[in-house]
Amino acid sequence: MRPISFALIFIALAAFVAGQLLLKKAMEASNADGFHSRKFMQPFIAGIFFLTVQFFLNLGLLQRYDLSYIYPFQGLSVIIISFAAAIVLQEKLTLQLAIGAALISAGIVLVSIS
């Protein structure tokens, strides 16, 4: 695998995580300020943008590599999102949640490499 593809996998993963965090932020803002506020619109549009970036990067990667090679990296998104939510969104991450997320990640990686 060329270093550029490796970089692309990580950019795609980062874009997916960023997209989910932004959508979560947007939907929380919609609770307080409704759907017409900037506090909702800005993270919502940015979130959709990042998920779109991830979609096309992923499509491009799938054209060059097997799904079973690309997919395990997506399994990592579970554990990354759990930690990112704790750090960026100040959600409470218990040890139990972290262990659960790690097992789910491990399971997805195992399913996709086997």
């Binding site: 939907m27 759990s82 659960g100 097992l103 789910i104 399971g107």
Partner: protein, 136 residues
Amino acid sequence: MPMQNKPSGFANPWFQLVLSVVFVTIYELLLKRGAMETAYLMDRWAWTGISGLASLYVWVGIVLIILSLVTWLHVLRYIPLSIAFPLSQVVHVLVPLCSWLVLGERITSPRWCGIALVSLGLAIVAKPAARLEERL
């Protein structure tokens, strides 16, 4: 906390989370069916997957993709991401199970182990989720 004023009934975010993963599971199966149905329509644009649009399965799948996004956004309004996202990964159990039961695909034993690991992780995440619900 973003959990105040949690709606009940159809708008209950836990129910919407279940709907969301059911939609994802069904659209994955529909897209597979639709893709197989249109695989013979090979031309020089085949790599884009665009020929899949000739299948009705794919169009129903697209509707379900949109519905799954809408329900997921509703989930995000009320449930912390660090709980909702791991739980949504139940699709990695449901999709292989349904491809086995409905599409008749074979599942190798390492893959069964992976599915078991995901299930175990889900069970562990489900406990804090249940506590979160009690606090309301």
